[in-house]
C-alpha cells in the first residue's frame, strides 16, 4: 500500500513496529511504532499518557511527511 500510494506521487509515512520489514518493503519515511499490539500508544501507561504518546507520534509523522528525503529514512 505504501508503495502503491507513493507511485501516484503522494508521500507516505509508514508507522509500524518492525522497522526492518518497513525497510524491506521499500517505505521511504518510517516512524517506528511502540509495539505490534499497540503501534500508536501504550496502554500500559494508562489512557491519558497513551494518548500523549499517540499525539506526539502523529505530529512527528506529519513533520516527516513534509521532510524531503533522498533515501529510506527512519525518523526516530
Amino acid at each position: 500500500m505504501v508503495k502503491g500510494i507513493e507511485r501516484y506521487g503522494l508521500p507516505v509515512v509508514h508507522m509500524a513496529t518492525v522497522v526492518p520489514i518497513s525497510l524491506t518493503i521499500g517505505a521511504n519515511r518510517i516512524i517506528p511504532g511502540v509495539g505490534i499490539p499497540y503501534p500508536l500508544g501504550d496502554p500500559t501507561q494508562g489512557e491519558v499518557d497513551s494518548k500523549k504518546i499517540r499525539k506526539s507520534m502523529v505530529r512527528r509523522a506529519l513533520k516527516a511527511l513534509q521532510t524531503p528525503v533522498e533515501e529510506q529514512t527512519v525518523f526516530e
Binding site: 520489514i21 511502540v34 505490534i36
Partner: protein, 428 residues
C-alpha cells in the same frame, strides 16, 4: 546431560475400568480422566473420544497435541507447569507412549486453531492422522476470558498426558535410546575435528494467546539462554499458543523436535552437536534487536562453526529469523535457516515478510497458502462451527454437507517450520 528415552509402542487406545498398558494397547479409565480435567473450575464439561488412523473423523478446533510420558527416574514430566519446577528434565530415564497422543479440543480460543482429519486428503499433511488420539473435548464456563480458557485447555491436556504416561512407568520399553551432550569444554574436546554445530530455537512469544513456556516461564519474559538438547526432548518446553495451525509447534513437536533428532543422528559422525540456543519472538523491536544480539553472542561464545535456525509462526517472526541470521553470520558462524513460506494463494507474493543478504541457505518446509478440498467426515470431534473463521478458511468455504475448501494452513503442523512434515521445496 544424558537422557535414556524408552519408547513403548502403542497401537490402540480403549476405554476400560482402569488405566494401564498391556500388549501395546493403552486402556483408559474414562471417568477418572474426565473427573481429573473437571477439577479445574474454569471448565464446565469434559468428555473423551478416541480417533484412530483411517477413521472418517475430523477433529477441530485443535489446541494442542501431547505425547503421554513419565519420568521413570523421578521428577515431573513438565516441570514448572505441572507440579514442582525441580528437578530439571533432560537427564535420567523417561518412558514415552509412542504412537498415541492426547489432543485437546473445544470451542475456539482464538482463530488460530486447526483441523486433524484421520483419513482423506488432509491426512497426508498431518502427523496426527497417523497416531491413535485420545481427544479431550472441553467446554469452558460461560463468560470466561479467552486467556483463562486457553490456560484451562492447556493444563487439561498436559495433566491428561502426564496421567496416561504413568501407565508406562513399569512397562518394559520396546526401544531404549541414549542421548548425551557434555558440558561445553568436554563436548568441544570430544570431537575436535568435527564442525561444532548449534541449534537456534526460536519460541513463539508474541503474547495475546501466542505463548510458549520454558520450565513454566512465559517465553516472552526471558532472554536467550543455553539449553541441553535433551531438556527439550524431555518436557522443558510446552506450547501455549494459538499460532497458525500449519506451523504450530505443539508440545508433541517440542518433544520430537526434528532438528534436535537429526543433529543427534549426525553427532560424532559428521558434526559435533554442541547444544541449543533458546530464544523468542517478541512484539517489540528493542526485544528483537536485544535478543538477536544475545543469540549471536552465545553462538560466538560457544565457538560454533555453524547453526541451524528455526522459527515458529510467520510474519513479524521472519524479522527475528533474519536478525538472528545476519548477526550470527557476522560473527563468522555459518547459518542455515529452516522455515515455511506464505506466498499467497497464487504463489506470487514475497513468501517471507523479511529478508537479509546473509540469508543464503534456507530449507523450506512448504507453503501454507495452497488450497485443498476437505471431504465431509462421518464424525466430527469438537465442532465445525468455526471453520470459516479459523485461519486458512474463509466466509462461505464450508458446504452444507460438511465438506469445505481451505488453505493448508488450517491443518495442524502441515507446514511446520522445523521440518516435521513431508512438504519440501527442491533446489535445482
Amino acid at each position: 546431560m544424558k537422557l535414556e528415552l524408552g519408547k513403548i509402542a502403542i497401537n490402540d487406545i480403549q476405554f476400560a475400568d482402569r488405566t494401564y498398558v498391556e500388549d501395546h494397547v493403552l486402556y483408559v479409565n474414562k471417568g477418572e480422566v474426565e473427573a481429573m480435567v473437571l477439577e479445574d473450575d474454569k471448565l464446565l464439561e469434559c468428555h473423551l473420544e478416541i480417533a484412530r488412523p483411517g477413521d472418517s473423523t475430523r477433529i477441530t478446533p485443535v489446541k494442542d497435541v501431547i505425547e503421554p510420558r513419565v519420568k521413570v527416574s523421578g521428577g515431573e514430566m513438565f516441570p514448572g507447569v505441572i507440579g514442582k519446577v525441580t528437578p530439571q528434565v533432560g537427564g535420567g530415564r523417561t518412558h514415552a507412549l509412542d504412537g498415541c497422543c492426547v489432543v485437546t479440543v473445544g470451542r475456539i480460543v482464538g482463530f488460530q486453531e486447526g483441523v486433524i482429519d484421520m483419513s482423506g486428503p488432509a491426512a497426508d499433511y498431518c502427523p496426527f492422522s497417523k497416531t491413535v488420539n485420545l481427544c479431550v473435548v472441553i467446554e469452558p464456563k460461560e463468560g470466561l476470558e479467552t486467556h483463562v480458557y486457553e490456560k484451562a485447555g492447556r493444563m487439561a491436556g498436559l495433566k491428561v498426558a502426564a496421567y496416561l504416561g504413568e501407565a508406562g512407568r513399569d512397562v518394559e520399553p520396546d526401544t531404549l535410546e541414549v542421548f548425551e551432550t557434555k558440558p561445553i569444554f568436554e563436548q568441544a574436546a570430544m570431537y575436535p575435528d568435527l564442525p561444532k554445530v548449534g541449534y537456534v530455537h526460536m519460541l513463539q512469544s508474541q503474547g495475546l494467546l501466542h505463548d510458549t513456556y520454558y520450565y513454566g516461564v512465559d517465553a516472552k519474559q526471558m532472554v536467550p539462554t543455553f539449553m541441553y538438547p535433551t531438556e527439550i526432548m524431555d518436557g522443558a518446553i510446552v506450547s501455549g499458543n494459538c499460532v497458525a495451525p500449519c506451523d504450530k509447534v505443539t508440545t508433541y513437536h517440542h518433544l520430537h523436535n526434528p532438528v534436535i533428532e537429526d543433529c543427534f543422528k549426525h553427532h560424532g559422525k559428521d558434526i559435533n552437536f554442541m547444544g541449543v540456543i533458546l530464544t523468542n519472538e517478541n512484539v517489540f523491536l528493542a526485544d528483537k534487536e536485544r535478543h538477536s544480539d544475545m543469540v549471536a553472542k552465545l553462538a560466538e561464545w560457544m565457538g560454533l562453526d555453524g547453526v541451524l535456525i528455526t522459527e515458529e509462526g510467520y510474519g513479524n517472526p521472519d524479522t527475528d529469523l533474519m536478525m538472528n541470521c545476519r548477526k550470527v553470520e557476522r560473527k563468522g558462524v555459518k547459518v542455515v535457516l529452516i522455515t515455511d513460506e506464505f506466498p499467497g494463494k497464487d504463489g506470487k507474493s514475497q513468501s517471507l515478510a523479511d529478508t537479509c543478504e546473509e540469508a543464503t541457505a534456507l530449507a523450506s518446509c512448504g507453503q501454507g497458502n495452497a488450497t485443498l478440498q476437505f471431504p465431509a467426515m462421518d464424525k466430527v470431534i469438537g465442532t465445525m462451527e468455526y471453520i470459516e473463521s479459523q485461519i486458512g478458511g474463509w466466509a462461505g468455504c464450508v458446504n452444507p454437507d460438511g465438506s469445505f475448501e481451505a488453505e493448508l494452513q488450517i491443518i495442524i503442523a502441515s507446514t511446520i517450520a522445523n521440518g516435521f512434515n513431508k512438504l519440501a521445496a527442491k533446489g535445482y
